[in-house]
Every structure is written in structure tokens, then in C-alpha cells.
């Protein structure tokens, strides 16, 4: 199967039904994408497929074939997403950090210059237990607002 991850083309021999999450973490050693529940509730495994946020624990790898995938490891390639990473750091939006990669990827799929309500709606599929979300809004507003 051919996957393009963070701009790089990969040919992998994973089983078609293998979760995209496991293919990323095991076959491509991209462990920045996390698993929190395996139910599509927590959003820790969020990646972008062709610009749209998905829970990679619910995506068979074969359905990602031929698509462009963005993970946390690829954020630094784009100045806009670099700004997001910097804002997450400066605003204390990452506490324990386990939800952070997924949270940032969901933020990447927000409309440009999102309002607070758009941020809340866009991040409702990402659970954070540390921050109360306040500093996450601050970071997203700072980087994308």
C-alpha cells in the first residue's frame, strides 16, 4: 500500500484492515499519534487525511491508501502549524501532553481565524483532562486568530 505521510511517500506492506493508528506507530515509527480509548471518543489519535480530521483508531489503513496524511511529526514543515506548536508551548496548552498531538491536528482543520465558538465546536472531539481547555483556546486564538 502507498501512503503519503507528512509529505513523504511510503510503500508499506501492512494488512489492509490494520488500524491507521497502528500503521503509523508501528510500521512508520511515528509514535507522536496517541491512543486514549479506541472508541473514537477522546481524539488523542486524531490525524488529518486530505485535510480532514479523523480518529486514526477507527480508520482501516486501506482506506487511507492514496491519501495525504498529516501527523504531529509533520507540523513543523508548515509555518502556520509551527506557529500553532509555539503557541501551545507558550500558552501552557500542553500539560501532560498526551492529548496535545490530536488537539493540535484538530486545530489544524479549523476554519481560518476561528471564533471561540468555532474553536469549541472544532475541538469537541478531543478530550483533555488537564487544562479545562482554557489555555488551549488561548493557544489556538494566538496562533490562528
Amino acid at each position: 500500500m502507498k501512503l503519503t505521510v507528512n509529505g513523504q511517500a511510503h510503500a508499506i506492506s501492512a494488512a489492509p484492515g490494520k488500524r491507521l493508528l497502528d500503521t503509523l506507530r508501528e510500521d512508520l515509527k511515528l509514535t507522536g499519534t496517541k491512543e486514549g480509548c479506541g472508541e473514537g471518543e477522546c481524539g488523542a489519535c486524531t490525524v488529518l487525511i486530505d485535510g480532514e480530521a479523523v480518529n486514526s483508531c477507527l480508520v482501516p489503513t486501506c482506506q487511507a491508501e492514496g491519501t495525504k496524511i498529516l501527523t504531529v511529526e509533520g507540523l513543523a514543515q508548515n509555518p502556520r502549524w509551527r506557529k500553532l506548536q509555539k503557541a501551545f508551548l507558550e500558552c501552557n496548552a500542553a500539560q501532560c501532553g498526551i492529548c496535545t498531538p490530536g488537539m493540535m491536528l484538530s486545530a489544524c482543520a479549523l476554519p481560518p481565524q476561528p471564533t471561540l465558538q468555532q474553536i469549541r465546536v472544532g475541538l469537541a472531539g478531543n478530550l483533555c483532562r488537564c487544562t479545562g481547555y482554557v489555555k488551549i483556546y488561548d493557544a489556538v486564538k494566538k496562533a490562528l486568530g
Binding site: L30, T31, G36, G38, F88, G97, I98, R129, T131, V134
Partner: protein, 724 residues
């Protein structure tokens, strides 16, 4: 320290970047499930499926292909089959008794996870079942009992114009760190092949060391425990990681290869510790002007099947049970009951959220009965500097209960836009609270924590066993050391706690790390300055450091906890200075209730807390905001549905924690009245934010709808029942 106070602070109070922050925003941070070792295999746990009885047999299906599996049961334990904690009652692996569902009985490991899952299904336990005790309210076996008394209760009640009673209940709460429990164990440690090494997600590396010492009958140098980047704890990774590490190490020793054990969410939810459910009865004597003449409190906590940390949870619950209010006579009686359910344990606040929930809902009840405004009633009874607590502690340091109340009222008015006209029922509720920092009573003396600094040619390295679990420990301690040494923040290096390298700084719990460990580091830094002699700049420091290192080879200064002279505690009478310092807080919550669906939503929230000094204001705010939302979740949504002693809604679909759309606008204000014995005036901040939200919300629900709730979570089903 007085010298430090007089100069302008350059690092403390500043928003420096988190030490490990860059790794977390780039995906480089390595959590336990991200780690691999050569020849590593995977471990899993066989658990009991009945709440109480005798194990007749544990059988492996003979038709199943067991090749490649490693099997461990109680017979493989070289040392003591006991999880070292307060008392010796909990086995690592059940032998013949079952005391609760999900109790570990045996362990399996295999290189292939799918085979491992099949193996688990091929194990059959047969039991002789016994009737379980599932309801702690009617349970009779007491795990721990305590009583605090001061003044003459009968006389106090006789002075009252009215005696007002109420009974309040709180349920289990799951910590719900987003990273589940997990460990990787390796055979061998520190050059000893018979030793064991555990890497993993945890709050207390030395608790794990102590557990492994006993389990393997090994001395400390043959055990190595390394904390990896930890995805949240909230108390949930205080004691349970000792069990996970023990299991993983048993498998690794037997298999002779590294073993990874990562709990799936469902397993983590059904098997690991939760907040103790409580039932608390208040009897308050009140004069017609609202003054409290007597407080009589009776509380029961659900301990679950084993003692774990219940005695200290009970103690903290009891000491905080009056809330921040004075009274001439008080009696507090508490019991932890044994039930055949998974043991409950540490969770942010450690009993104080339960007991102060009861206190604050009851204060509103008193206000209502007496016809006094709830804020006014509180003002008349709040602790003032110089007042005496239930344990006889005279509050010499500044008590800022009045101050946080005034500031919260002002802040709430300006911080939140009033919502427009709505069909919903709207109301506001208040809760006040206090929270002691550090271990209770003589606890810190017993812990005798150690921490220190190692001189490097270009700075210093922190040697501390306290763990970074998201709260910012490492950053905050680095700031304290940088400030103490008058060096730039970048001069202070930090490492992952590795018991082969760092001393035992005590557990990372009880809002103690900043105040207690921070002070030890401050003192170690002062000693290092004496060793170095005066330096004028960073470069000057480096010159002196290099010279000293050349002379001595290594320079390591480890200091130990010293009890401030004025603190006295008597464990027999439960009287004395329960805590060195208290945080003081006030919460205000706006709530809306949908009259058709009975759903309550918190729309605006204010939290004002005196934490002495915010070493890092952003991190401190983050603690308050996060603790607040965790409290709001406990108040409104988080309902552990138990049936036959096991959690029924053990997934994130059905155990509901707040999302962005459930989180209200949270306004935070930090008040800084410095504590003289804390580093740069700091007290604890981690736990106190969760003490108030539940009561503030329940009081707001009463204000909004007239629904008088005595229990949380305030689910719509419960509100419907009350509204009739």
C-alpha cells in the same frame, strides 16, 4: 530566605517555557507505549469475575496451544505476595480468596498480542461464591475509623437557636488520565542480573521501588524504576502503578525478556482505583444571627476491598470537614467501610472534595433555614487569622477566606457576560474551601524527603524524585532553583526521575511538591552557593563551577526535609498543626437548567484561590482551570455505574467527562499571601481547585430551579426526581 524576599524575583513568577514542553508539542515526548526494547513481549492480566468467594481452581484450557506463553501466578512470587502500602492486606496475585471483581489472579505474556488475547480467554477460574457486601452504607466491616473532637459539643448545641441537619452523598469518580496505566519491565537492574527494572507511567517512583523490594525480596540497589513521560495522574497513578510494575516484573523475570503491559481503557476503568464514594451527615448548631455554635459530622467512605490509602483519605476528609468555618465545639467521626468492590484510592483532593461538598451544600441549607443570605452567613463564620481549627491548630499565618470571597464576587460580576433571556432556569451558587498543603500531621517528618542539585560546568542538574505528570513540577522546581542560585532558568537542567540517579523526594501527591520539595531544593541551592562562593554573573558562576568540579570531581548536594519549628502534631489525639499551610478559595458558578430535559449546564465559573505565591502563574492557572473542570464533571456528569461490584459503563462513550462544549467560561484569579515557610512564599495548588465546584454547582441548581439535591452527580435523572 529573608534576603531573597527583599530582592526582585527574576525567574519565579515568570512565564518560562516548560522544560519538557517542546517535546510535547512536536510529538517527540516518549510515553510508555511509545517505547520498544529488543525481544520485548506483551503481558496481560487474568482477573476475577465474581465479587467474593474462594478460588477453587485456575485452569488453562488443555486444547489451547500454550507454546510461546509465559504464565505467572502466586507461586512464582519470590518474596512477599503483598502490595506494600499502609497495611499488608492486598496481594499482587490472588491465592485462594476473592475480595472483589477484577482482582488479578494470574499473568500471561506472549510476543503476539492477538495470541495473548486468545490466551486470556482460554483460562478458566472456578469459584465457590460467597455473598458479597456491595453497599458501603449498610456494610459493617470497618477498615479505618477516626474521630476529631474539640470543645464541648453538648454545650455548643445547647447554645444554638436551631439545630440543622443534612445528609449528603457523592459517588465514585474516575481520574481519567488520557494515558492509561502502563509499564515495561526488564530483567536485571544496575548491573545485577537478578534485579528488576521498571519503566512506566507513574506519580511515585519510590512507592514502586518499595513494592518491588517486598515482592522480590531484593535490596534497593537491585531495583531500578524510571518514570517515563506521564499522560496525567490526578492521584490515579499514585498507588496502582506499583501493582502494574510488580506484574510486569514478575513476567519479565520469568520470561527473561522485557515485558510491556499497557492497560486498555476498559481494563483501566474496571480495575484501577477511583475516588471514594461518601455519605456525610451534618448536624450544625446555629444562633439566630447565623453564628455556628457546634458542628457534628459523621462520615462514611467506601474503601472497597482493601485498605490502600483509605486511612489518609479519611484523615484529610475529616480535617477539612468543617469547611473554612470556625466553631467553638466540633466533633467529626469518620469510618472507611470495606466492600467487595475494587479498592478506591487517591484522587486529587484526597477526601477533602467529598467533605467540603457536604459542608458547602449544608451552609446553603443553613442560610435557607435561617433566612440569611448565603454569602452573609459565610462571612459571619469564616475563619479569621488567629482562629482555631477542628484539630486545635491556631491559624497564625494570614487567613484570606474573606479576601478570596470579596475578590470572587467582584471577578464574577465583571468576567462573565450575563446570558440573554432564555427559556432555561438560571441561578448562581457559591462554595468556599480551604486545603492543607503537604502530608497530614507528622507525615512529612516520616517521609523525610530528600532532593538536591548536582553542579555542572554550565549550570546545575536537579536531582529530585518528584514527577512531572502535566502539572509542571519540573519547570516549577527548576525555577525555584534558578531563583535561589540567582541564575538564568536555562542554567538548570532536569532529568526523568530514575531511582538509579535521583533520591526519594517523597510521593508526588498531596499538593506537597512545590511547598515541601521546593523548600528542600531552595536549601540545597543555598548550600551550593556557600560551596561556590560569591559570583556576579552567569559566566562568573561557570568559572567557579569548573574550578570547583576540577578540584572535587563531582559536587552533589542533597538536602532533607526539616520540619518548621513551630509545627506540632499529636497522632494519638489527632490534635495539632494538621498542615503547615492552607490555600483559601472561593468558587462561584452560574448554572442553567432545561425545564424540559432537566439537564443542568454550567455556563460561567469563577475561582479565586490564595496559593501563597505562583511560582509560574500560567502553570498555576492551568492547575486551577483543570481542577475546576474536573470538579464540574464530578458534579454534573461523572457517574460510575456499578453492578455486582464492577463498573458497567467502563468506556469513554458512557463514562462522560466534559468536552469543550460542556466547559464553561472559567475565570481565575490567583491571590498571593506568602507563606513564610514555603519557597518564595508558595503553598500548594494542585488539589484545592477541585474542592469547591461540586457544591457551587449544586447550590446554583437550587438557586435556579428550587431542586434540592443532596447527592452528586447532578444528572438530569436525579434532578427530575427531585423536581417531581
Amino acid at each position: 530566605m529573608s534576603k531573597v524576599k527583599n530582592r526582585r524575583l527574576k525567574v519565579v513568577g515568570k512565564r518560562v517555557p516548560r522544560t519538557e514542553g517542546a517535546d510535547k508539542v512536536t510529538g517527540r515526548a516518549r510515553y510508555i507505549d511509545d517505547m520498544q526494547f529488543d525481544h520485548m513481549i506483551y503481558g496481560a492480566t487474568v482477573r476475577t469475575t465474581i465479587p467474593r468467594g474462594r478460588i477453587v481452581s485456575v485452569e488453562r484450557d488443555t486444547a489451547f496451544d500454550w507454546s510461546g506463553f509465559t504464565w505467572v501466578d502466586h507461586r512464582d512470587i519470590p518474596g512477599k505476595n503483598i502490595v506494600a502500602m499502609i497495611v499488608e492486606d492486598q496481594p499482587f496475585l490472588a491465592v485462594d480468596r476473592v475480595e472483589h471483581q477484577t482482582e488479578p489472579v494470574a499473568l500471561l505474556a506472549h510476543a503476539d498480542r492477538a495470541r495473548l488475547a486468545e490466551g486470556l480467554k482460554a483460562v478458566r477460574i472456578t469459584y465457590q461464591e460467597e455473598p458479597p457486601v456491595l453497599d458501603f452504607e449498610t456494610a459493617t466491616e470497618v477498615l479505618k475509623e477516626l474521630s476529631i473532637a474539640r470543645g464541648d459539643l453538648a454545650a455548643g448545641l445547647a447554645l444554638a437557636d436551631k439545630i440543622i441537619e443534612g445528609t449528603y452523598r457523592t459517588g465514585h469518580q474516575e481520574q481519567l488520565y488520557i494515558e492509561t496505566n502502563g509499564m515495561i519491565a526488564l530483567p536485571g537492574a544496575n548491573g545485577f542480573p537478578e534485579g528488576v527494572t521498571a519503566y512506566g507511567s507513574m506519580q511515585c517512583p519510590y512507592y514502586v521501588v518499595k513494592a518491588l523490594e517486598k515482592l522480590f525480596r531484593l535490596d534497593r540497589e537491585r531495583i531500578r524504576v524510571v518514570q517515563t513521560t506521564t499522560g496525567g495522574g490526578f492521584g490515579g497513578k499514585e498507588e496502582y502503578p506499583s501493582i502494574v510494575a510488580g506484574h510486569a516484573c514478575l513476567l519479565a523475570r520469568k520470561a527473561g525478556v522485557p515485558v510491556k503491559m499497557i492497560y486498555e481503557r476498559h481494563e483501566d476503568l474496571i480495575a484501577t482505583t477511583k475516588r471514594h464514594p461518601s455519605i456525610i451527615t451534618w448536624r450544625a448548631g446555629v444562633k439566630s444571627d447565623g453564628t455556628l455554635t457546634a458542628i457534628d459530622i459523621d462520615m462514611r467512605l467506601d474503601g472497597g476491598a482493601y485498605m490502600t490509602l483509605s486511612p489518609v483519605v479519611l484523615s484529610r476528609a475529616a480535617i477539612h470537614a468543617t469547611g473554612p468555618y470556625r466553631t467553638p465545639s466540633v466533633r467529626i467521626r469518620g469510618r472507611v467501610m470495606k466492600t467487595n468492590t475494587p479498592p478506591n484510592g487517591a484522587f486529587r483532593g484526597f477526601g477533602a472534595p467529598q467533605s467540603q461538598f457536604a459542608a458547602e451544600v449544608h451552609m446553603d441549607r443553613i442560610a435557607e433555614v435561617m433566612g440569611i443570605d448565603p454569602i452573609e452567613l459565610r462571612r459571619r463564620n469564616l475563619f479569621q487569622t488567629g482562629d482555631t481549627t477542628a484539630t486545635g491548630q491556631v491559624l497564625h499565618d494570614r487567613v484570606s477566606a474573606d479576601e478570596v470571597l470579596d475578590k470572587a464576587l467582584a471577578k464574577h460580576r465583571v468576567a462573565h457576560r450575563r446570558s440573554k433571556k432564555t427559556k432555561k432556569l438560571a441561578g448562581t451558587g457559591i462554595a468556599m474551601f480551604f486545603h492543607g498543603s503537604g502530608f497530614t500531621g507528622g507525615g512529612e517528618v516520616r517521609l523525610a524527603s530528600r532532593a538536591g542539585v548536582e553542579l555542572l560546568p554550565d549550570g546545575v542538574r536537579l536531582l529530585v524524585g518528584s514527577t512531572e505528570i502535566g502539572q509542571g513540577t519540573r519547570t516549577m522546581l527548576a525555577q525555584i532553583v534558578a531563583e535561589s542560585l540567582e541564575l538564568p532558568y536555562a542554567f538548570v537542567k532536569t532529568i526523568d526521575p530514575d531511582t538509579a540517579q535521583v533520591p526519594d523526594s517523597g510521593p508526588t501527591v498531596a499538593s506537597r511538591t512545590c511547598m515541601i520539595v521546593g523548600t528542600i531544593l531552595q536549601r540545597a541551592s543555598a548550600k551550593l552557593r556557600i560551596e561556590l562562593g560569591p559570583y556576579k554573573s552567569g559566566d562568573d558562576f561557570k568559572k567557579r563551577a569548573k574550578a570547583l568540579l576540577k578540584k572535587r570531581g563531582t559536587v552533589v548536594i542533597i538536602d532533607q526535609y526539616e520540619k518548621p519549628g513551630e509545627i506540632e502534631w499529636n497522632d494519638e489525639t489527632y490534635q495539632g498543626d494538621a498542615y503547615g499551610a492552607y490555600a483559601w478559595g472561593c468558587n462561584l458558578a452560574d448554572v442553567e437548567i432545561d425545564p424540559l430535559t432537566y439537564e443542568a449546564r454550567c455556563t460561567a465559573f469563577t475561582s479565586v484561590i490564595d496559593i501563597g505565591r505562583a511560582i509560574h502563574p500560567l502553570l498555576a492557572e492551568g492547575q486551577i482551570e483543570g481542577g475546576t473542570l474536573q470538579g464540574i464533571g464530578w458534579a454534573l456528569f461523572e457517574d460510575v455505574v456499578m453492578k455486582n461490584g464492577v463498573m458497567q459503563n467502563a468506556n469513554l462513550t458512557n463514562y462522560i467527562i466534559p468536552t469543550t462544549l460542556d466547559a464553561p467560561h472559567i475565570a481565575v484569579e490567583i491571590v498571593e499571601n506568602p507563606y513564610p515557610n514555603g519557597p518564595f512564599g508558595a503553598k500548594g495548588v494542585g488539589e484545592c481547585p477541585i474542592d469547591g465546584p461540586a457544591a457551587a454547582i449544586v447550590n446554583a441548581i437550587r438557586d435556579a430551579s428550587g431542586a434540592r439535591l443532596d447527592a452528586i452527580p447532578a444528572t438530569p435523572e436525579r434532578i427530575m426526581k427531585v423536581l417531581g
